[in-house]
Symmetry: C2
Subunit: 746 residues, 2 copies
């Protein structure tokens, strides 16, 4: 644990600064390096006034490099509680909570104390909500708040340390661990950890099956493909259920209905809502649709650009490794990898930036809609970059190599400087043999090497960068102070009691913002390799299970150390990633079937010659596999839908409690039962048997409606019974034929 400790306390002289946050809820990093002094001052004044006007207390301290830090907490516990209460009532009104909060606030908070995530979320909303919704309307880096660099909560380092220690000491997270994450970091991040945990747990099965399959059956085994496909269905359907269940247990089911308005939304016109009579800002949906249509050319262009790059590098690599026979071959083989490594991130970043612009252009009203649209585009980009190389190998290189390779001579250019003669660079016109290991090697690269590299880029590199950066800064500061003169360093002003704390806060202000989308993307792409290509190399899941054990802890470390404490947003699901998961799982049924058909029993597959493939057989296999998949999916969905779960039980019991209470309160004794009783007891029980039939008949004939007369002929139960029995006597088969005869003159 020593290394963890050293990781954890990068600066040991911070001492007890890690143990208290001085009750600070949020810190605003106010930077004015590029603003005039006057503007900075007036914006600062406006900022403090805005914060105070919504019931927040502020303290200001010096920051690093032209910055001040504004510390924020809620002015009074009473105000906080009112905010929490209001939010809970809103939840109830939107159907997120089944039970309304107790009308007595005191009781409400005893029954359900305020959790940290709830407090931080509401304070953050208080700071950032628009003014007409009761917030201070502070929007970092935007509009009138250009100087507000970031708004962040302070890490609870005591908790973080215990948390990381706890995580590293166990294999599986319990429900309690997940709830703890939710209490600290909010449901959105808790859902990520819950997903990762479920995925990790589920991976044990394909890892076991994969290992056995690798030992016994080798690659491209139809048995493994079927089991793997089945596992994908079960996992996706299980997660859907698990997701709903967690949402119910955390009291956030349907929370996505409570939408946060996007501050960047630009409205075209203001319309009065006929229902709520409020003014609503609207943007023509037709216009938005027409802009959304741009996604199609965007996806095509991205596929074309990235595809061309990948295909080119791929072709060069094939050319060099399998055609080229000249010197430096073993070095030249890395040429395409170098091209890819340089060009790909640049292109990806460019396309991601373009995707962000496109999403802005689509101008969504709510934060959630905006994020979902962005996630969709990012998924498309990642799909292309992650899977296209393997698709090219499996479905272009292997079946068509003999047709294509002779045309690869165009890449002579790449090796011309090194080749000694023409022959070294000319593809053989016939008899070209494909490299059967290429596909497997590629899958191993993406599922092992790339995962490790990714982890390093995600966690280790930033850590080193940060350490180096800090060292450089320290050296610079040292040199500056040696050069003489009391330059206005930020620390000079610090009160000794707070100085260690302020150093810590200044460090946290420098950290980047945690984005759970990136981590989700990584996991979904990983799931894709398993679903689409693991039939090539069944050990895939074994690699992933190791990777994901580290990944989960690494992500926790990243949140705790590498990034600012995230705002604890709520969520009721993993959102659009679920669709991506379902899509990859479905696509897996197609690719696995195709791979098995092409390669089973023959590592060369069609051996580069398309005429070796029976296309109708391939199509039939895919068709069959897909429909089997869809059928099984339907079955599993139905079966899982019938199984009870803690969340559903909780929901039912809450619903029942509400019903019972309501009935006991307002219906029960009073209105209904009394009315019902009255109906039964006070009916038409007149029963005056003494009246003769004829007499009554004549009395009735005179007055009353025909209906009254109809219902008056038999007064009370007894008369009905008498008359009925007589009818039965008369009509019953062969029993005293004239029993009721004497009464027939009625």
């Amino acid at each position: 644990m020593a290394s963890l400790k050293s990781l954890y306390e990068p600066n040991t002289n911070l001492g007890n600064a890690l143990h208290t946050n001085f009750d600070v809820d949020f810190v605003i990093d106010y930077r004015f390096a590029t603003t005039s002094k006057q503007a900075a001052e007036s914006q600062f004044t406006a900022l403090i006034h805005a914060l105070n006007s919504v019931g927040l207390t502020t303290e200001v301290r010096n920051g690093d490099n032209c910055a001040v830090l504004i510390f924020i907490k809620v002015a009074s516990p009473r105000h906080l509680r009112a905010e929490v209460y209001r939010s809970r009532v809103q939840d109830w009104l939107y159907g997120v909570r089944t039970i309304a909060p107790e009308k007595d606030m005191q009781k409400a908070f005893t029954a359900e104390p305020i959790i940290e995530a709830e407090r931080l979320r509401l304070v953050y909303l208080l700071i950032t909500k628009p003014k007409n919704e009761g917030g201070a309307g502070i929007t970092p880096k935007r509009g009138e708040w250009k100087c507000v660099e970031s708004i962040f909560a302070l890490h609870d380092h005591t908790f973080n340390k215990a948390w990381i220690k706890d995580l590293t000491s166990k294999t599986f997270l319990t429900q309690k661990d997940l709830t703890e994450i939710r209490n600290r970091f909010g449901e959105k991040i808790a859902f990520y950890f819950a997903f990762l945990q479920s995925y990790f747990m589920f991976l044990t099965f394909p890892a076991g099956v994969g290992f056995c399959s690798w030992v016994l059956l080798g690659g491209f085994s139809p048995v493994y493909a079927v089991i793997n496909g089945l596992w994908c269905v079960v996992f996706v359907e299980y997660w859907k259920k698990q997701e709903t269940d967690l949402a119910v247990q955390w009291g956030v089911k349907g929370v996505s209905k409570i939408q946060h308005k996007r501050p960047d939304f630009k409205h075209e016109s203001v319309v009065r809502d006929p229902i709520t009579d409020e003014e609503v800002k609207v943007y023509s949906p037709v216009k938005r649709l027409s802009r959304q249509m741009l996604q199609v050319p965007f996806a095509l262009a991205a596929a074309l650009i990235l595809g061309t790059l990948i295909a080119t590098c791929f072709s060069i690599e094939v050319f060099i490794s399998e055609v080229y026979g000249g010197p430096f071959k073993s070095y030249l083989v890395f040429l395409p990898t170098v091209i890819l490594t340089v060009a790909m991130p640049t292109l990806s970043a460019m396309l991601t930036g373009f995707a962000a612009k496109l999403t802005d252009l689509e101008n969504y009203e709510t934060v959630a809609a905006h994020e979902n649209a962005m996630v969709g585009k990012i998924f498309v980009l990642n799909f292309i970059t992650s899977y296209m190389p393997i698709f090219l190998t499996a479905f272009v290189y292997v079946p068509f190599a003999q047709v294509i390779v002779p045309y690869l001579d165009v890449f002579q250019l790449a090796v011309k400087p090194f080749a000694e003669n023409e022959k070294q660079m000319t593809a053989p016109k016939a008899g070209f043999q494909i490299n059967p290991d290429r596909l497997k090697k590629q899958v191993i690269y993406f599922t092992v090497t790339a995962q490790i590299v990714g982890f390093a880029l995600e966690l280790v590199v930033p850590y080193i960068m940060r350490t180096v950066f800090k060292k450089v800064k320290e050296v610079k500061a040292d040199r500056a102070s040696k050069k003489g003169g009391a330059t206005a360093t930020s620390t000079a002003d610090d009160h000794p009691e707070e100085s260690a704390f302020l150093v810590r806060v200044r460090n946290e202000a420098e950290l980047s913002i945690y984005d759970v989308t990136t981590d989700f993307r990584e996991m979904i792409v990983q799931f894709g390799y398993l679903s689409l290509f693991s039939v090539v190399w069944p050990l895939t899941a074994v690699s992933f299970i190791i990777n994901n054990w580290i990944e989960l802890r690494g992500d926790a470390l990243k949140i705790a150390l590498e990034t600012q404490r995230p705002v604890p947003w709520r969520a009721d699901s993993i959102g659009p990633w679920l669709d991506a998961l379902g899509f990859l799982s479905w696509l897996g049924s197609l690719t696995s079937a195709a791979l098995v058909y092409l390669f089973n029993g023959n590592d060369f597959g069609p051996g580069g010659n398309p005429s070796n493939i029976k296309i109708w057989g391939l199509l039939l296999t895919i068709f069959f596999s897909e429909h089997l998949y869809l059928g099984i999916q339907l079955g599993i969905r139905t079966a899982l839908g019938k199984i009870d779960s803690p969340g559903l039980q909780k929901e039912r019991s809450e619903r029942f409690a509400v019903r019972k209470q309501y009935l006991a309160e307002s219906m029960g004794q009073e209105a209904a039962e009394e009315a019902a009783e009255g109906g039964i007891a006070g009916g038409e029980k007149i029963n005056r048997k003494s009246l003769e039939d004829e007499a009554r008949d004549s009395t009735l004939q005179g007055h009353g409606t025909p209906e009254e007369r109809f219902w008056g002929r038999q007064r009370g139960v007894d008369e009905t019974l008498t008359v009925g029995r007589r009818y039965i006597q008369q009509a019953a088969p062969k029993a005293s034929p004239r029993a009721g005869g004497e009464k027939k003159e009625l």
Copy 2:
């Protein structure tokens, strides 16, 4: 309109009996022909007591043939209102209603009067609900109530007449018409009419396109196939939306959650529910699942039995019409049709009976689950009987005829008595030409002839039967009365004022029970022909549009005249038929693509020779078509999901009203705002500027926690502003470098 009138008033001497129901809610037809007199009397007594115990008033009158009629109405309006109110509160608790009924009952019924369907449904439930749920527990023909033949409401003939007249005078039903049907016959039947109406309206499009396509493009046009597939998607998705919308407008959305227990449900054990603490009767779901598994062999056996019958008749027909050359050919051709006509209904009825037994065996707890399971099985049977002949022609006869026909010699037996020589009965070994018209003729048969025959069987035949039956009865009665002696006819006892009414009720007691499932089945099967095979004969939709205009009026006539008035059940959708609709629409994308691929540009298709088919081309076409279909479906579903509708608007406005009311009532002035105000106003506005920094610092150092001291350094907004401005002055880039210098000694 003359014929309608005569249809409507089959017995003109009923006179004004059609104009009043004497306030009768329900009539029980109590038949004791097969029961001993004593048992009949005691059961009758129990029946009357049971009815009276739940607040119902009874009158008894004589019935036909060993029967008495028990007339039922709710004892007092107050009791009825209490029932309605209780039901509305239950709706609210289950989330069917958004707004709770007014606590003041008087107001509640003024705002929302009791509609007829609501009254009849609740009275029916009062009669039939188990005793522990507050009903009388009368279960017709079951258990202790063997003599209760049926419980039926009386037709409102005045309404019925006006209704039929109105329906026949217009082409499209309006929203108001549908709501009227719902008010009279309940949501379940109203949904049928709404579906039929939407379907009819939508049919205009494929009818138009089909006609143009028939004139311009002929059969098997890919253009028509694509348009038809697109139409199917749009229609199914539109109906889903429309269905929800209607459910909201009729206030029944989610009503399927309120389940009616099945009286026939047999429990294995009684468990105490941990949540509700009520005793629940349970049946092992594993056992049920194992019995549900029987559906698979059932479906296979049904397919085998019906399939064999159909295939045999089909083969005989092909043999006779295309191989046989002997005498009587033109008569013998009808032989298989005769076999089918005789055997099919018998087999179907047998299998349906078997399906019903199987469903009983599955032992569902609720009426809805039972019905859905039964509908599923009926759909499978209907699928086989309706579509298999065409499937055989299109995908067996046309591609494989040349292979199969030589083997048809086995059917020589069928024609042996008529043939003159062997040659007449021997298939040519080669050069057999398929009949290209067979497929089209078959489709025309199923979409025109069969529809007309079905209509006749459904409406005209029962009408004739009933008329003849009545005539026979009249003649018999006449003869009996002529024979002499005052036999105890049922009418002898009638009060003259009621006698016409009683004659009418006795007639209604003889009518059969309306089953909306049959009508739904007919429409769904019809939709199947359009979706699966209309590419063969594009005029299909034209035939259907004519048929359905009549069908809707015919069904209304059937309800009004041929059957007892149905119990107005509620429903929030068309239930499992929606799945059948989706399935047929999807399957259509496969069959249409296959038909177009096989037959386009060549009426002979592959001409009976399988080697003429490029299987990979066929598979690719189907694969492409299916995925295009699924993609478009997703798109249309998303697009329709974004469109607003009257129902959704109603829902939103109700939700909003609830929210507004709640906030106004309990939150608004009191708790929240006051608390919030307190927070802002009473914060830390101490602002004692006079205190010196040093002085304060020392005072604070002595006592208070570090947190208190941290937040105490700047008291109030003004001090924060002052300090903040000073920091900005100090750090701001290149602006009066030592401006705040003199204050630095803090």
